[in-house]
């Protein structure tokens, strides 16, 4: 019988947790309102509220064991939110790089820009397609770009400590195609010169990235003339004139991709079909929004899965910690609970009271963990070798409201499980036995 009840509880739990994962924040608020209303307006509810009040008021006497729940859950939520924030920051940085009104053209079947090669004819043909926005002089807004890598010394490292950075040779229209790129220090590079501008992310990571400084690419000297900010993945790049970069890297007049500004996002279909209908071209077309989204998928998924696995294992640990504390609390108050039941309180208010107490502690833990993660990790910069690029991508961890909510949901779920079993035990203990217990 006891086994059956426990089994039933477990199945109920699994169903509840599965439902809980899907609940949006307003669902949880509605749930809280319903519980509050029940506690205010029904007889049972009022009983539950008063038992809860008694339990909560005794919390101060068992601060030590209560803090096990709070800190245990704060740890789980902190680590979970930090790892998810890493995935979020990474994919946000890449997602922001694209937009619906710019399109990228690469050679067919290329997984990313670095792997693509467009010959000179294609580079000339692409800007003639339909749907591209034009500047005041009637020239299409298209930037044929070359993406290569450069080995540069890492800031703060030894002379031999080199990292890889993505170097993008851009066309002259690039400022119109990518208006989000702003020079924040120095000036733009001059076409035809060995001059570079560096993204602010790259400037933080590599040595010598200040205007006026000379850096060596292979055996050539290039001058850094400016620093730019785009607040996206471009920040991790170095930019120069495509034709000069092409010379240095012996790429001749071939390019990796052409990025164009569309007259209007709705013109994308026309642009795509005009290129695909051209028998001289073998290219893949995508909006940059879609392209960079796809680039971020793999890595972000890996980080997210890692975060959830680590979070789950920690959650199991914290859950047993909570169970332990609440079993101890119930045991310590066994007489008190039995007395309540002897004078006519039913089982339900007792169960609710203990569950609420645990979930309150869990909520505090979740909030502390989420806040800690936010204070320490929001805006924390990290970097990795991004998929589909050849350089380090620097990004900032983003602790968003949605992530904090996820953390609090986890905390409440742990508190729910941690409180349920002790609560049921308290309600089921025979009154006479409990009263006799010391």
């Amino acid at each position: 019988m006891k086994f059956l009840i426990n089994l039933g509880l477990l199945i109920l739990l699994a169903a509840l947790i599965a439902g809980w994962v899907l609940v949006p924040w307003w669902g949880a608020v509605a749930l809280a309102v319903v519980v509050a209303a029940w506690m205010l307006f029904t007889r049972r509810g009022k009983q539950a509220a008063s038992v809860t009040a008694v339990g909560v008021s005794t919390l101060r006497q068992r601060l030590g064991s209560a803090s096990v729940i709070v800190i245990g859950i704060a740890g789980v939520v902190g680590v979970l939110v930090a790892l998810l924030a890493m995935a979020e920051g990474y994919s946000q940085t890449l997602r922001k790089t694209g937009s619906a009104d710019t399109a990228i053209v690469m050679r067919g079947s290329s997984a990313s820009e670095v792997m693509s090669v467009l010959d000179h004819d294609s580079v000339v043909l692409v800007p003639q397609a339909e749907g591209i926005a034009q500047d005041a002089k009637g020239k299409p807004l298209a930037s044929p770009e070359l993406v290569v890598a450069a080995n540069l010394p890492i800031k703060g490292g030894t002379a031999d400590d080199e990292g890889s950075v993505q170097l993008r040779g851009v066309g002259e229209q690039v400022w119109a195609v990518r208006p989000e790129v702003k020079i924040i220090e120095g000036r733009k590079f001059n076409p035809g010169m060995r001059e570079l501008i560096v993204g602010k992310g790259a400037a933080k990571q590599f040595a010598g990235m200040v205007p006026g400084h000379e850096i060596r690419l292979g055996n050539q000297a290039w001058t850094v003339v400016g620093v730019f900010a785009a607040d996206n993945a471009m920040d991790s790049e170095l930019w120069g004139d495509a034709s000069v970069v092409g010379d240095t890297y012996r790429r001749g007049s071939s390019r990796a991709s052409v990025t164009v500004k569309l007259a209007d996002p709705s013109k994308y279909a026309a642009f795509k079909s005009s290129l695909e209908g051209n028998p001289q071209l073998k290219v893949d077309v995508d909006t940059t929004l879609n392209y960079f989204n796809k680039q971020s998928e793999g890595t972000a998924k890996v980080i997210r899965i890692m975060g959830i696995v680590v979070g789950l294992i920690m959650a199991i640990g914290a859950m047993f910690g909570a169970l332990n504390t609440m079993f101890a609390a119930v045991a310590a108050r066994a007489r008190e609970i039995a007395t309540l039941r002897a004078i006519g309180f039913r089982g339900l208010p007792v169960v609710v009271a203990i569950m609420l107490e645990t979930m309150l502690l869990a909520l505090i833990g979740g909030v502390i963990g989420g806040l800690l993660a936010w204070v320490i990790f929001n805006g924390y910069s990290a970097s990795t070798l991004a998929q589909g690029t050849v350089g380090q991508l620097s990004f900032e961890l983003k602790v968003t409201g949605a992530l904090l909510w996820t953390g609090i949901k986890w905390a409440l779920a742990i508190g729910f499980i941690g409180g349920l079993f002790p609560a049921v035990r308290a309600a089921r203990l025979p009154v006479t036995t409990a009263l006799r217990e010391l």
């Binding site: 292979g218 920690m314 910690g321 169970l323």
Partner: protein, 388 residues
């Protein structure tokens, strides 16, 4: 040792509490084992005796820049060089562009430089004789269900063939086995094709080489040889950068992620929580046994031995949970690696992790037990028996 029975009985005096605490400790050390395996796999990459003997020469400009194939003969002339081979990145994918395969277009003698790769003599000969032949790693073959003698289509995400078509066709003529299965490494996930076939089939390569691999005769000479190799192309338009395989891999891993920091901070959070949790358990255990401890002292146990017993109890608790957790990790890590179909490559939980784990267990046990043990030691018999 003669008190073990007593300590054991005290530990399981409250079964529920001890078991719940044990589960928490088990999960903490399970996590420790898994994360430490990840950390070790990052740290150990390239750190082998064979790795120290091999030099990698790539373009100084960047790793995607190619080198002229004439350089190979010049490198072979450098004193101290035993053997030279070269390779190109092929960027292969099977069926779907997402099924990326580690695939290199290599010179015939590539396998000779990597004694870690085990290819039977007959298969090696078949590879040399078949223009479209490829050698594939054991795990890779298993992942896609390939067999010896299969003809497989393969896409290159970088190089189309002369018809502008991305589809290449290869014959599997040999299987690469990893010599040291425990060492991890990715040799059994490689696919090797002939550089010659590659160069003749794609119009985009034109005789260039991605990187050279050199085996030196004497490890101690590696630095000198590396400098000599770089000197060959100094001031040309294809300057090179030569590093030992160890250094090159370490630099890649460092760029990929600061794994040490991530693992360190997660473990910090976990162990801090664990400290608190088991500390609370021990406090409770000692508090509720106050009168029993007083009885022990009354019948002649010294304060010192009471202290020792409580400490031993907490160490035993953490050790018990820790060993089970780390044992679980030892079993689970290879299972996870196998289950991922070669996507995740983790070495098992090694002796180092076990030693570190055991030291941590004892340290945590001591820390956790210290306060309750001191309390038990200072117990005043009269007060304790009176329940004051």
């Amino acid at each position: 040792m003669k008190y073990l029975h007593l300590i054991w009985a005290a530990l399981f005096r409250r079964k529920t509490r001890t078991i719940l605490t044990l589960v928490s400790i088990i999960t903490a050390f399970l996590l420790f084992g898994m994360l430490d395996a990840v950390r070790t796999s990052f740290n150990q990459a390239g750190q082998s005796a064979n790795g120290a003997q091999r030099l990698q020469t790539g373009s100084k400009l960047s790793f995607i820049q190619t080198l002229p194939s004439s350089l190979g003969a010049q490198i072979a002339q450098v004193p101290g060089v035993k053997m030279v081979t070269y390779a190109n990145w092929f960027g292969g994918a099977y069926q779907d562009p997402h099924n990326q395969v580690f695939s290199f277009a290599v010179d015939n003698n590539y396998v000779d430089l990597y004694p870690e790769m085990d290819v039977s003599a007959a298969e090696r000969k078949a590879f040399d004789d078949t223009r479209t032949g490829i050698l594939v790693g054991e795990k890779l073959a298993k992942r896609f269900g390939w067999k010896l003698g299969d003809k497989i289509p393969m896409q290159s995400t970088i190089f189309p063939n002369r018809q502008g078509d991305k589809n290449w066709s290869f014959d599997i003529v040999g299987i690469i086995h990893s010599k040291d299965k425990k060492a991890g490494g990715f040799y059994d996930q490689l696919m090797l094709l002939h550089w010659k076939y590659f160069d003749e089939t794609t119009p985009y390569n034109q005789g260039s080489v991605g990187w050279y691999v050199t085996r030196v005769t004497d490890v101690n000479q590696a630095d000198r040889v590396a400098k000599a190799i770089d000197a060959i192309s100094a001031n040309s338009d294809h300057e090179t950068r030569t590093q030992t395989e160890q250094a090159a891999t370490a630099s890649w891993m460092k760029q990929l992620a600061d794994i040490g920091l991530i693992v360190g901070s997660i473990m910090g959070a976990v162990f801090f929580t664990l400290l608190l949790l088991s500390g609370n358990t021990m406090m409770q255990a000692v508090r509720e046994r106050t009168s029993e401890l007083a009885v022990l002292k009354t019948i002649g146990f010294s304060s010192g031995s009471v202290l020792g017993m409580v400490l031993a109890e907490s160490i035993l608790l953490v050790l018990l949970g820790g060993v089970i957790g780390l044992g679980l990790a030892t079993v689970m890590v290879p299972a996870v690696a196998a289950g991922s179909g070669g996507m995740l490559n983790l070495p098992g939980v090694g002796a180092n992790s076990w030693v570190l784990g055991l030291v941590l267990m004892v340290a945590i046990g001591l820390l956790v037990g210290l306060l309750p043990a001191l309390r038990a030691m200072r117990l005043n018999i009269v007060d304790a028996l009176a329940g004051r």
